[in-house]
């Protein structure tokens, strides 16, 4: 034992042995840390599966399912679809394309009951680094219109409430940006995670929560300054935002960016677009390469991450209009 210890001691006394071994171990640790953050999927369980606040739950499930099939078939018969519009008995969507500050912006005017504004998770699975293209998620749920969501899966903290289910109740580090909440009665509001617990939000009737930000328009006024930026990101970027004009009238906005054709929008320019649409409340969602707009199964905008190719980025969740 003494001899072994002596040999080890002599080995580590050799020049650079300790440095090389320590460097290899440290490099391995850093590599694993980065893989855990960016690549390795982590499938997690929801805090609660109780859908007590979901407007999607009905008491007489069997009867309502039959009614839903009949209603859906009736609705399909009356549906009018063009390249940029959709209309049936319950949902009306109009997509307008305009150029703002050398950037192509897609504005979706949506008239529907709040129950048709839903969210969906990548691979129908909750967890970090669980991702899928917006168009694929949209296809899996039969979305009429879909945009990327708040990419909850990029972070380990922050409330996650989707379709009335509470998945995560830890407070996000940048809670000062505020979260957009949608209540079961159709009202929208901005809350701050360090001021109210996730359980209280569920008790208050929150069915959807978006944790990205910042808030762009509140009470009809632009609340983001011309210097505000999301996590100090570049001024002009592809953007995604969601807003409400009044109960039953919602707006989705997606802009291109990082290309020769479209420079991108600053947060203030994005807020101006939503204010011009008449939004009383508007909120910024994940932008950059995540910004994607899907209508009737087709990607409408030009999503790009580095500006050197049009390609969808895989995201963790979407917001969609559908049955």
């Amino acid at each position: 034992m003494k001899r072994l210890f002596g040999k080890l001691n002599n080995f580590f006394r050799k020049p650079f042995v300790y440095a090389v071994i320590f460097s290899l171990i440290l490099t391995g640790c850093v590599g694993y840390s980065l893989l855990a953050v960016f690549v390795i999927p982590s499938y997690e369980t929801a805090v609660t599966y109780a859908k007590t606040n979901s407007y999607l739950v009905t008491e007489d499930t069997e009867e309502s399912e039959t009614e839903d099939v009949e209603t859906t078939e009736e609705i399909k018969a009356e549906t009018i679809i063009t390249d940029s519009t959709y209309s049936d008995e319950n949902i009306t969507i109009t997509i307008t394309t305009k150029v703002v500050n050398d950037t192509t912006v897609y504005i979706c005017d949506i008239y529907c009951s709040i129950q048709y504004l839903q969210t969906a998770l990548a691979n129908s699975t909750y967890g970090t680094n669980v991702t899928e293209k917006t168009s694929e998620i949209a296809d899996s749920v039969g979305a009429i219109l879909a945009i990327n969501g708040d990419f909850y899966g990029a972070n380990k903290k922050g409330y996650v409430i989707k379709n009335g289910v509470l998945y995560r109740d830890t407070v996000r580090n940048d809670s000062e940006y505020g979260d957009l909440v949608v209540y079961s009665d159709g009202s929208w509001d901005i809350i701050y995670e360090d001021e109210i617990s996730a359980e209280e939000l569920m008790e208050d009737g929150v069915v959807q929560l978006f944790a990205f930000g910042p808030t762009l328009v509140y009470d009809g006024e632009i609340v983001v300054s011309e210097d505000d930026e999301v996590d100090r990101s570049m001024t002009n970027n592809p953007r995604t935002a969601i807003g409400i004009v009044e109960d039953g009238h919602y707006v989705f906005v997606v802009s291109d960016g990082r290309t020769d054709e479209s420079e991108g929008l600053s947060l203030y320019e994005l807020a101006q677009v939503l204010e011009d649409c008449g939004c009383t409340l508007a909120y910024n969602l994940d932008g950059g390469g995540s910004s994607t707009l899907v209508f009737m199964g087709e990607v409408i905008n030009k999503p790009t991450t580095l500006g050197n190719g049009i390609k969808e980025r895989e995201v963790s969740d979407i917001v969609y209009i559908g049955y």
Binding site: R13, Y18, A19, F22, S23, L26, C29, V30, S33, L34, A36, V37, F38, A154, N155, K156, K157, G158, R172, N173, D174, V230, D231, R232, S233, M234, T235, N237, R258, G288
Partner: protein, 137 residues
């Protein structure tokens, strides 16, 4: 005051710490340039670890000039602490500049704290041992 061997070691150390400091700052500027304007305080301040850690260690080197070899474990532990702080800052910086949020830097900072405390304990333990030896003589 210093032997030529000591001067050589200190010069090498000075070059190493200064070079690492400059490299980390330049790395931050280059990375920021390709990060679509994203920024991170952790990556921006990573260069401070070898800068201040090096200044402190150079002071210790000056104090222990006559027996630097006997303090090798102290230097290894101290430099390990600096490396861990840098690793934590860079990891957190990469995550922040991608737009994400994760507390991946905390284990590195905790390990660095342990290394720094261990190195100081080893230093004073070694110093005390040498003083006793001198007194015996």
């Amino acid at each position: 005051m210093f032997t030529s061997d000591t001067k050589t070691k200190m010069t090498h150390s000075l070059v190493g710490y200064f070079g690492t400091t400059v490299f980390l700052f330049v790395f931050y500027l280059v990375y920021k340039n390709f990060a679509f304007g994203e920024d991170s305080e952790y990556m921006r301040c990573a260069f401070m670890a070898p800068l201040f850690g090096g200044l402190i260690i150079m002071t210790f080197m000056a104090l222990t000039s006559k027996g630097m070899r006997k303090y090798r474990l102290f230097y290894n532990l101290w430099n390990s602490g600096i490396a861990l702080v840098v690793a934590g800052c860079l990891t957190k910086g990469v995550v922040e500049m991608s737009g994400r949020d994760a507390d991946c830097h905390i284990p590195y900072f905790i390990a660095a704290g342990v290394m720094f405390l261990a190195s100081v304990a080893v230093f004073f333990g070694r110093l005390s041992y040498r003083q006793k030896k001198i007194e015996q003589i």
